[in-house]
Symmetry: C2
Subunit: 440 residues, 2 copies
């Protein structure tokens, strides 16, 4: 490869791509010093040549023929920031086959079909890096993959979607309902016109799959992730959380569950889920406000770590892409590869029903003698023990609030079904999982 | 090197070393899978063979002859967790010369004489990693060195000493004075019998030098760091901070300062200092409680990031050592080296007097007409503008509290000197820098 500059092809020049182009130009001198070789733009593939861009591009670099760009002999590195499954997948595979290393921010593709990409990278002897795919600018994949490589990660709790955190934070601070908070998020550009991917947890589920794969050295895809969004969260849920000293967050939760041999045994499983949950206000994640992201990691030796920062946006996401680009470029210059994917532990994913969680349940009940005993009996029948039980109001307003100890999700949802069928229960007004406490 | 196991020599088997030994044994299977080769203990050097240990060691592995251990032909990796300057330095240099890669947690040595070690590693073609030297278990050096390698870091604010954070947190929550809080820290094992290294900021200054070197690609040693400890922080200072909506933290502050060409210009300088400072309670660092550490990083593209976790303790620190060990071992297996030190930017360190800071000043004044004007005039004479000024109490209890805008530290300290010499000033009761706001 001699001493010639490294050539980078960028696929996509939208929110993220335009910032990658800008940083490549602005930081050219520093990049050359850090990589040991100049890094130059080979070309930028887009859909529409004439669309307005957030960055000025040297003439002749734009192309609509992405396939030809990644196949060029002189391209050493490919940055994929188009998004979606196709043509991104075909382009990444083609880039690897043609001998380029790849950096991508594409969580959807990685969560759906990561193993195909990892195997292609392995076969080609090239790097595939994707720090920007989870939590934007926050360095979290590299710490999981490298810094904690000599430790045993047992749990990852992430606020990995800025849109939903913004909405829930608004609901918490202003008492607004979901619809109103969503509208504000849309007005401010934090939510898209069609907010489904964010609000229903699809985006967070993709990130949960990526986090769980890395943390537990196993293959977890988006299809393995139990997913619930925040569109059913009500102002009453938020108020109820507040009364318990809690706050509601949409969490991506990845847990290592002991198998029959207990913790560390051979048949440990992985539980991965995304749902709104109440967490204590004293938990480090509780103070993550607005559209910020944070990932909380628990491991045997390190204890509790948290990584915090902007989870999206052109420049922050581009920062993560650029960090990967420098690493991958350094590896090319040194003639080596970074750490590839590792799925040696090959742990099974635990079905949601068998996952241990805790429930917060709000119930409208008739205010008459024996009600408490009957409710407690319903929990007991499903082998769910109650941690706290509180009665608010009297008569027609009587409302019971219960928080369970840890039990399987199946037991807990059966308990809620049971409650809904009881005569004395007028309505189950709020059901939400509780996380971030020790007793799971 | 064939397929034989990698052999690790550990120098020191105290708080950290004993946990490294434990993890090496407990995680043996995972380590082998992650490194691609089994990792075995070659020997453990200590001062006293018969001292009680926190870990059981296979017979025959303990030695008091560290020099012979690092010189052994079959040792691939050396972990130095003795601490201090000598014999640690000689042992690390000898290990590198004998072809081993080295992992160390020794901030004191790195801050005093890092360049000698880095050059030796470079010359030997081996790795020298030291994540555990700053903020214990928190992955911060790797993110600075790799994740942010395509970005421009402009500021690092760290709570990097758990002892002082515990003391200041106690003073804040209980109203205790410094001496009382220190005693409690000692009773709980958070402070040593001789607390000087922590309390006077030496430990934090060593970490600041390491952080600044990495963040700004320049050589910064402990001697370059302006250092003030917390032993002069009073309960009144803490109360005054509280009234301003602030909290007092001992901060390691590393800043990139624009040169004559402005930000990004060729003559940017580096400002590095450790001192107690008031930060707004809304700042992410303000919620770092007890003995926890956190490092807050600002960069051009990523924006604001924070890394949080346990900054000390045997197991957490060993987690960081083990992460480095896996990386270094993977590099040995792949026949490569990680990113070496980079000091290409070679930025000068700005003297403290020229560093821009902000001051909070509390003054006991005579309560008579013209006092405010005279005080304001004193600030004006030194070209320091006042951001806020508040008068508390009347008559003999009159107390003025001022916060300046950003000015050089020399201007600010001259202003305080001037105030102390004024007739109407009975006492300057509190002087503290203010950080974490935008206007510096
Ligand atoms: N935005 C964020 O904050 C963020 C954060 C983390 C990760 N990500 C990820 O980053 C990736 C890019 O996101 P983005 O927000 O930058 O998207 P975007 O603004 O929609 O930009 C997409 C770019 O891809 C180009 N493109 C689309 N189809 C193409 C095709 N068939 N061939 C060539 N180019 C094509 C578009 O060209 P035209 O400009 O000509 O239409 C556009 O420049 C996604 O994977 C996303 O999940 C984004
Ligand atoms: N403790 C923490 O929380 C922490 C956190 C971050 C970084 N670190 C760093 O980690 C390093 C080790 O700290 P530590 O707390 O583990 O220290 P420690 O408990 O005092 O242990 C030091 C060990 O080194 C051995 N030793 C001393 N002199 C020796 C010599 N000349 N030859 C061979 N062995 C010798 C001692 O042997 P004996 O046992 O026989 O006396 C002891 O086992 C230091 O650089 C420290 O700054 C510590």
């Amino acid at each position: 490869m001699g001493d010639r500059p490294l050539k980078v092809a960028i696929l996509g020049c939208g929110v993220v791509g335009s910032q990658v182009v800008r940083l490549l130009e602005e930081q050219a001198d520093d990049l050359a010093a850090r990589v040991g070789r100049p890094v130059e733009l080979a070309g930028v593939a887009v859909r529409r040549i004439d669309a307005p861009r957030d960055v000025e591009l040297p003439a002749g670099l734009l192309t609509t023929d992405a396939e030809a760009l990644v196949a060029r002999d002189d391209v050493d590195l490919v940055v994929e920031v188009i998004g979606g499954i196709e043509p991104a997948r075909t382009l990444i595979l083609s880039a690897l086959e043609h001998g380029a290393s790849v950096v991508t921010a594409n969580k959807a593709l990685l969560a759906e079909d990561g193993p195909t990409l990892f195997e292609a990278a392995e076969k080609a002897g090239r790097d595939l890096y994707y720090e920007a795919a989870v939590a934007g600018a926050i360095p979290i994949l590299r710490p999981l993959r490298e810094s904690l490589a000599g430790d045993r990660v047992t749990r990852v709790l992430g606020i990995v979607n800025g849109t939903t955190n913004f909405i829930l934070d608004k609901m918490d601070t202003s008492g607004a309902g979901f619809a109103e908070a969503l509208e504000e998020a849309q007005d401010l550009g934090y939510a898209e016109a069609d907010p489904t991917a964010d609000v229903e947890g699809f985006d967070a589920a993709a990130k949960a799959a990526i986090l769980a794969s890395l943390a537990f050295h196993s293959r977890v895809t988006a299809a393995d992730v139990h997913r619930e969004g925040i569109s059913d969260v009500t102002a009453a849920d938020i108020a109820s959380a507040r009364e318990m000293g809690c706050v509601v967050k949409l969490l991506a939760i990845c847990e290592l569950r002991p198998g029959t041999d207990g913790p560390g045994g051979g048949d440990e499983t992985v539980a991965v889920r995304v749902h709104p949950a109440m967490i204590p206000r004293s938990h480090p994640l509780a103070s993550v406000r607005e559209a910020y992201n944070a990932v909380f990691v628990e491991s045997d030796a390190a204890g509790q770590l948290m990584f915090y920062g902007p989870g999206a946006g052109g420049a922050p996401t581009a920062s993560a892409v650029m960090g990967d680009l420098v690493t991958v470029a350094r590896n090319l210059v040194a003639g080596t590869r970074g750490v590839g994917e590792s799925a040696y532990a090959d742990r099974a994913v635990l079905p949601m029903g068998e996952t241990r969680t805790r429930y917060h349940v709000g119930i409208d009940v008739d205010d008459r003698a024996g009600v408490l005993a009957a409710i407690a009996q319903a929990f007991a029948e499903h082998d769910v023990s109650i941690q706290t039980m509180r009665q608010d109001g009297r008569g027609d307003d009587a409302q019971l609030v219960l928080v369970s100890h840890g039990a399987t999700d199946a037991q807990l949802s059966a308990t809620v079904e049971h409650l809904r069928g009881m005569d004395i229960v007028r309505d189950v007004t709020s059901v939400m999982r509780v996380e971030g406490a020790d007793d799971q």
